[in-house]
Amino acid sequence: MTIGLEHYLVLSAVLFCIGLYGALTKRNAVIILMCIELMLNSVNISLVAFSSYIVPLLLTGQVFAIFVMVVAAAEVAVGLAIILAIYRGLTDIDASNINLMKW
């Protein structure tokens, strides 16, 4: 059995779903950020896989993945900075305690 495009895609889909599940159910803001990172990186897997199987002569998917990595790092940096700002006033980062405003 050779490894084909679909294996990468299934791996990517499974990782994406794990990340989405974690991001929606976890209560710790840092863990939610990690889950989001997992989602973005699972997309990177499928981008690179698509690129090397569908347009093997171009590097579109790989370049896209580099941009995604940089953007994700910027996002996480801002996220951690906001968590630090909250932590200063709140002493914990349990997302269920962040509930001053309710529907």
Binding site: V43, G79, A95, I98
Partner: protein, 486 residues
């Protein structure tokens, strides 16, 4: 390389960096506002000068310079200008961080300009994130508990939405092998309905794209961040968010769905149907939940969800009749321009009043007709425009969008939209009633300073001009709608 076509964006980037450096090395902070305003004026002026009939692509077809993009660039520069003008007094709440505030507003405006111009999935993602990340920080600027909490919620939900959007992009890229929107359209035209149904990755990708963009424009299943973020954020940022971020979202939806997925009718009918469904639930949920709200920022938040619903009626009309789509586009552009002026006007009045009475509760607006007659009059005009009553701009905007929808056999959708406008009149007029007939808490006048008054005057003038002589802006919108051939 035609760098001169890129001048508005370069100007904004340079001025944002300039503001940061000035903030570090100059002691007198009042310069910062002038510098950022002049940056926006230059960028807007260059955009006007570039308006023309020909459209070009720059950076390897990654960005388009066409009337559509220029229309939005001018709109964003104008919105940012008014927001900075209106936040003159408000910045005292975070005086230490004024430089960052102005720089971030300029940077997010830059991101939105790129969003309106982008014709490639890669540059789309980068532009979208430039906008979003600047906005995440701006939302948390007050540094009190509510503001940081709103910022964290916005960031977490926004990041999930961008991941979903990105997955959609990956699937579209995978099923067409292209990231450039025009090339995607060509690849799709060579596919048949059967081959797409056999491997539905493309359809899945389009649905995920709608979900990701739906978050940006606050359509209903993706709206949960709106009330919290609108309430917690500094009010000028709320105004900016409710207007510019939504307009940028619609710009990108129009561009992507029209130029990449517009052609085979079996495809465009289907996304038209999705937008019609989103429009219905956005209008109903936005309007119904707005009724019991007691905080005016939250109320305007839900009202902006409903307004996104009206706009999506226009999107559905485009999906159902791509052949006459330029008409649909120009009505959406007109609605966005009128909504921007109206909602900004309402928020500027709220900023000016709340900043003095230190409250956002609708009950505290009682008797504002006597305490701050100018502000109350302007707020009344803007609320009437949001309902969609003549002579304000909102009436013409809704009229155009709904008549396009009726022409494209979407009568049922228009009936729902009109019923919703009637519901919305209840909560808008309640504020008007409280302001003019309520018992004032004290007879003390609520003063307001020059810059917000100027911004408010410009907004109200725009609302009236668009409402009474809509032909002028409509012609611009028609020219802008016809472009995009990439």
């Amino acid at each position: 390389m035609n760098l001169e076509l890129f001048i508005p964006e370069i100007t904004l980037a340079v001025f944002a960096i300039l503001v940061i450096l000035l903030d570090l090395f100059v002691r007198d902070k009042s310069w910062l506002r002038l510098v950022s305003l002049s940056g926006l004026v230059i960028a807007g002026g260059v955009t006007v000068a570039m308006w023309g009939d020909d459209s070009t692509a720059i950076f390897n077809n990654m960005l388009a310079v066409d009337n559509f993009a220029l229309f939005f660039k001018l709109l964003f520069a104008g919105i940012a200008f008014l927001v900075i003008l209106a936040s003159t007094d408000y910045v005292a709440k975070f005086a230490r961080f004024q430089g960052e505030y102005y720089a971030l507003i300029l940077l997010s405006t830059l991101g939105m300009m790129l969003m309106a111009a982008t014709t490639d999935l890669i540059s789309l993602f980068v532009a979208l994130e430039l906008t979003s990340i600047s906005l995440y920080v701006l939302v948390g600027f007050l540094k009190d508990r509510k503001s940081t909490e709103a910022s964290l919620k916005y960031l977490l939900l926004g990041a999930i939405a961008s991941a979903v959007l990105l997955y959609g992009m990956a699937l579209v890229f995978g099923s067409t092998g292209q990231t450039q929107l025009g090339a995607i359209a060509q690849a799709i035209q060579s596919m048949s309905l059967e081959s797409v149904l056999d491997s539905p990755a493309l359809l899945m990708g389009i649905v995920l794209l709608i979900a990701g963009f739906g978050f940006k424009i606050a359509a209903v299943p993706f709206q949960m961040w709106v009330p919290d973020v609108y309430e917690g954020a500094p009010t000028p940022v709320t105004a900016y968010l409710s207007v510019a971020s939504k307009a940028a979202g619609f710009a990108i939806i129009l561009r992507v769905f029209f130029s990449a997925f517009g052609i085979p009718e079996w495809l465009s009918m289907n996304w038209g149907m999705i937008f019609a469904a989103l429009a219905v639930i956005s209008m109903i949920i936005g309007n119904v939940i707005a009724i019991p709200q007691t905080n005016i920022k939250r109320m305007l938040g839900y009202s902006s969800i409903a307004q996104a619903g009206y706009l999506m009626v226009g999107l559905a009309a485009i999906g159902f009749a791509p052949a006459i789509a330029t008409q649909g586009q120009s009505t959406i552009l007109f609605f966005l321009a009128s909504y921007a002026l109206t909602n900004l006007g309402a928020f500027i009045a709220v900023i000016a009043i709340s900043n003095k009475i230190n409250s956002d509760d609708i009950a505290d607006y009682a008797g504002m007709g006597k305490r701050a007659p100018v502000m109350a009059l302007a707020l009344t005009l803007c609320l009437i425009s949001l309902i969609g009553m003549p002579p304000a701009a909102g009436f013409m905007a809704k009229f155009y969008i709904f008549s396009t929808a009726v022409q494209n056999d979407l009568l049922w959708l228009v009936v729902i939209a009109v019923l919703n406008s009637v519901i919305s009149a209840y909560y808008y007029l309640r504020v008007v009633k409280v302001m003019w007939y309520g018992q004032p808490a004290s007879g003390e006048k609520v003063p307001s300073s020059g810059a917000p008054r100027l911004a408010l005057f410009l907004c109200c003038l725009g609302v009236l001009v668009l409402g009474i002589i809509p032909g002028l802006v409509m012609r611009l919108a028609e020219l802008a709608g016809k472009m995009f051939a990439f």
